[in-house]
């Protein structure tokens, strides 16, 4: 071995290879990235939210624009233009869907009707009295509702409302719930008893009654809807947080913090709440769909969003009434709604794994 002794030198340590401390959030994101299902949920959810925000500007219709002669037309159903000549002024133009075209000629026999409809469908311009019928290039991707409004636009605009209500109300409920629960749990004793019994009393009141009372007191208002739902939804959050805080507050690190003389609010916000953040996030993701459902219930009672504005809950409710004749009115918003709920649940699940401080770092 002419090469002499191999010197065993330690490889130089480069600065960037030093093990760096990573934050809770960085760890969490790292773990979340490995969870494909959760990631799918996150991306799909973001896509839906983006669609709701952007696409309504480009559909060419507004959520309130009616075309009542069109009625409930199916997705991508061929649409025809009827031009009605009038004695004075502009001829009146209206749109008719293929499935309703037959009704224009009800006085004719059934076979005649079918023949005329077939002719017009093939692109022929047909004249009947003062009316002229012809094909139109107009299309509605998701079809239209019974007032002839574009369902795609309505679903997406409704999504804005549903998501806004879902998140804003959840935020309200998280804020109140966490503060209330943490304070009660940390303080313990009489304060705890009084605070939690107060929550129990609210819990015993029927939800709709509280909301109706709030509406009567403050008037009907969109923002109030967030607050009203949030103000009712925080009770569970408060209970969960309180339970967690009680189990944490006797552990050594809190005793250490107390013996170091940290003030209570610092212990609460720096040491206790970050440790329950996992439960908070998990419960919050469950609250969002819950809140969306509540919003629909309220809308049905006439306390939620007012027409012509709508939300997914309202659209599904409307659709369920006509599902034997116009199933798309139910299916389209329901797909969006359930997809969002799935995504939020996957995401919540992933976040729980990711945020668990007891999980090993890998």
């Amino acid at each position: 071995m002419a090469t002499g002794t191999a010197s065993i030198e330690p490889a130089p340590i480069r600065a960037d290879e030093l093990v760096q401390g990573t934050s809770l959030w960085k760890d969490a994101w790292f773990r979340l990235r490995k969870n494909h299902v959760a990631l799918f949920g996150l991306y799909t959810f973001c896509t839906i939210a983006l669609l709701c925000l952007v696409v309504p500007f480009f559909t060419g219709y507004t959520y309130e624009q009616t075309e009542i002669s069109l009625k409930a037309s199916a997705p991508m159903e061929p649409i025809f233009l009827r031009t009605e000549a009038r004695k004075a002024g502009e001829p009146k133009k209206s749109f008719i869907a293929l499935s309703n075209l037959e009704d224009e000629f009800l006085e004719k026999s059934q076979s005649d009707r079918k023949a005329i409809v077939a002719k017009i469908a093939e692109g022929e311009v047909y004249q009947e009295g003062r009316n002229t019928y012809q094909r139109s290039s107009q299309r509605h991707v998701f079809g239209t509702d019974p007032l002839g409004r574009d369902l795609l636009t309505r679903v997406l605009v409704g999504g804005r409302i549903s998501l806004a209500v879902g998140f804003a109300a959840t935020l309200v409920s998280v804020c109140i719930g966490v503060l209330w629960g943490a304070t009660a749990g940390f303080a313990g004793g009489k304060i705890d008893t009084v605070m939690m019994r107060f929550a129990d009393i609210l819990y015993a009141l029927p939800f709709t009654v509280i909301v109706i009372l709030l509406m009567v007191m403050f008037g009907r208002n969109f923002i109030l809807l967030f607050v009203a739902i949030g103000a009712v939804e925080w009770l569970n959050m408060a209970r969960i947080v309180r339970g967690q805080i009680i189990s944490l507050k006797n552990q050594e690190f809190i005793e250490a913090a107390i013996s170091l003389g940290l003030p209570s609010h610092r212990i609460l916000f720096r040491h206790l709440i970050p440790n329950v953040i996992g439960s908070i996030i998990i419960y919050a993701t469950l609250t969002v769909p819950n809140v969306m459902l509540l919003e629909a219930v309220l809308s049905f009672l006439g306390l939620g969003v007012q027409p012509p504005l709508s939300s997914w809950g309202v659209l599904i409710d409307e659709g369920s009434r006509t599902m034997e004749t116009s199933i798309w009115l139910l299916v389209c918003p329901a797909i969006f709604f359930s997809l969002t709920l799935f995504c939020l649940n996957f995401l919540g699940d992933g976040l729980r794994d990711a945020l668990d401080p007891k999980a090993s770092k890998d």
Binding site: Q65, I68, A72, P146, L301, S320, L330, F337
Partner: protein, 560 residues
């Protein structure tokens, strides 16, 4: 129907329901159908036995004709209690003998004499006498009895004073039994439409013995209306009453015209949900439904025109305008709102039951009264009127609200009108739905801008539509009032000549529509499903069928 059959559709629905079950359970629960399994009679059997199977909507609250308020109750009571006169087979402006065999009136229609037939009997065997009618009207006018329709009898001389306690002697009220079989009715003014009036529940007789054996004259909800105790004088008598299920009536052998009664019985099922009714009809469990679900109408019209019937119905659908609120106090604004509504489009596309766009308030079919043709769709003129009122292109027009009770079709119509006003007049309107009782309260307390309303005629005369608009009338509720209009109505009530009277009413309505406190929408029709085996079910504008004429043909198979 998209090219797939009902069966495919059901499969699709099942699939979708499974997929989205999580999100939908909450909504689905609200619409569960209580299809009743208990129907024992199939249609063929019913046809053979001549039992008519009907639904009249929800469960009747009472079968005491003097306490009845709704159409549901009326349609059942009609089978068992017959008034002085009865509806004819096909023309509601005419009446046929009922308890009265014949009748006459003085020249100005203010004194009527009814001759009650000798062979008229109650189902307990008692003869029907003029005294029974006097007792019944006394009961109606007893304030402590609290009948909702007492006011209907105020056209009797002295009736209102008796009701209000100003006189205590019922002898002074204008109804007298001259003898057992002669009833004289004196009215406060000429009433040419009395024969139509006396067919209303509030004018029907009750058996004094039956009423008094279960309480006093003013006892409400007494047991005399239960199946065992009910005493009838009509073509049918009660056999059983199972609450929330069915009321069965059977042929009354003591009925004076029993030989001409064709049916052996009628079953009145209480089915509130129109979808449930439609399914029961499809399954061959009913001869007739009371309505057709809105979205099923096109299907029946295309595929089963033999099963669907659409009859004109004496009612008008409109929005009340609260004229005390600015800017709705301006008649030009109110007229503009009316002219900007494309009624034709609403009727043709949303309702689709051949409803007629309302061009006036009183619907057609009120005897010789010609409906007005004053309100039409004219957006050009509407814009002009709005500009004259100080709101060119809707500029500066305050936002106002339409109130309606929570029903799908009301919402659809309101949304359509909201959009029309937005497009034609550039006016912003918001919609607010309310639960039925809250909605009634809002309307009665006049705490609204616009409020959805409907009015169904009680009898065959335009007065039933117009008299509600006099200043301060309990049904007016718009703060609108015009002394000239009041004078017209007053004058009509004093006019004996039928044609002159209708002319005055015409002028009253014309005045009403020149500053309308309403937004007119449409005149009702009544759509229902009817088995072709049912005979003599003629279209009648008030919807009151004299069941003795109805017959069933045995041969036809149940509809599929």
């Amino acid at each position: 129907m998209l090219g797939f059959s009902r069966n495919d559709m059901k499969k699709l629905i099942a699939l979708v329901a499974l997929l989205i079950i999580g999100g939908l359970v909450l909504f689905g629960v609200g619409h569960t159908n209580s299809t009743k399994e208990g129907y024992s009679l199939t249609l063929q059997e019913a046809n053979k036995n001549k039992i008519l199977l009907l639904t009249v909507g929800s469960e009747p609250r009472t079968l005491d004709p003097q306490q009845a308020q709704g159409v549901t109750e009326h349609h059942i009571i009609m089978a068992m209690i017959e008034g002085l006169v009865a509806p004819s087979i096909d023309d509601q402006s005419k009446a046929v003998p009922g308890m009265a065999d014949h009748w006459e009136h003085n020249d100005d229609y203010s004194v009527w004499t009814f001759h009650i037939g000798e062979n008229r009997k109650w189902s307990n065997g008692d003869p029907v006498t003029a005294e029974d009618f006097v007792f019944s009207y006394k009961r109606m006018l007893t304030a402590s009895f609290g009948a909702q329709y007492s006011e209907n009898l105020f056209i009797l001389k002295g009736a209102e004073d008796y009701y209000r306690g100003k006189i205590t002697d019922f002898e002074q009220v204008g109804v007298k039994a001259l003898d057992d079989h002669t009833l004289r009715i004196e009215l406060v003014g000429p009433t040419p439409y009395l024969l139509s009036l006396v067919q209303h529940d509030s004018w029907l007789p009750v058996n004094p013995k039956a009423v008094l054996s279960f309480g006093k004259i003013d006892t409400r909800d007494s047991k005399w209306t239960s199946a065992e105790n009910f005493v009838a004088n009509g073509p049918f008598k009660m056999k059983s009453w199972r609450p929330n299920d069915v009321i069965e009536v059977v042929r009354n052998p003591l009925y004076w015209d029993a030989g001409n009664v064709k049916l052996n019985g009628i079953n009145f099922y209480s089915i509130e949900n129109s979808n449930t009714g439609e399914r029961a009809f499809q399954a061959g469990q009913l001869h007739k439904t009371d309505q057709v679900p809105l979205d099923k109408v096109p299907y029946y019209r295309r595929r089963h025109p033999d099963l669907i019937r659409i009859d004109p119905y004496e009612g008008v659908y409109f929005y009340r305008i609260n004229v005390a609120r600015k800017p709705l106090d301006n008649p030009k604004v109110r007229l503009a709102l009316n002219l900007a509504v494309d009624r034709d489009a609403i009727v043709k596309n949303i309702l689709r039951e051949d409803q007629r766009p309302a061009t006036g308030y009183t619907p057609p079919g009120m005897g010789d009264y010609q409906p007005l043709n004053k309100i039409a769709y004219d957006p050009e003129r509407a814009r002009q009127l709005l500009a004259e009122a100080g709101y060119p292109h809707g500029k500066g027009f305050p936002k106002f609200t339409i109130h309606f009770n929570t029903v799908e079709s009301h919402r659809a119509i309101a949304e359509a009108i909201q959009q029309m006003w937005k497009e034609e007049l550039n006016i912003d309107v918001s919609l607010e739905n309310q639960e039925w009782k809250v909605y009634l309260d809002t309307q009665n307390s006049k705490n609204y801008d616009l409020s959805r309303s409907g009015w169904i005629g009680d009898f065959m005369d335009p007065v039933t539509f117009l008299s509600m608009w006099t200043t301060g009338n309990g049904n007016n509720n718009t703060n609108w009032g015009n002394p000239k209009f009041d004078a017209f109505i007053e004058q009509a009530a004093r006019t004996g000549d039928p044609q002159a009277r209708l002319d005055i009413l015409h002028r009253a309505e014309d005045l009403f529509l020149s500053e309308p406190p309403v937004v007119l929408v449409y005149w009702y029709t009544n759509a229902y499903l009817l088995e072709p085996s049912v005979q003599n079910w003629n279209p009648l504008v008030l919807g009151n069928h004299n069941y003795k004429y109805i017959d069933l043909k045995a041969e036809r198979e149940p509809a599929k």
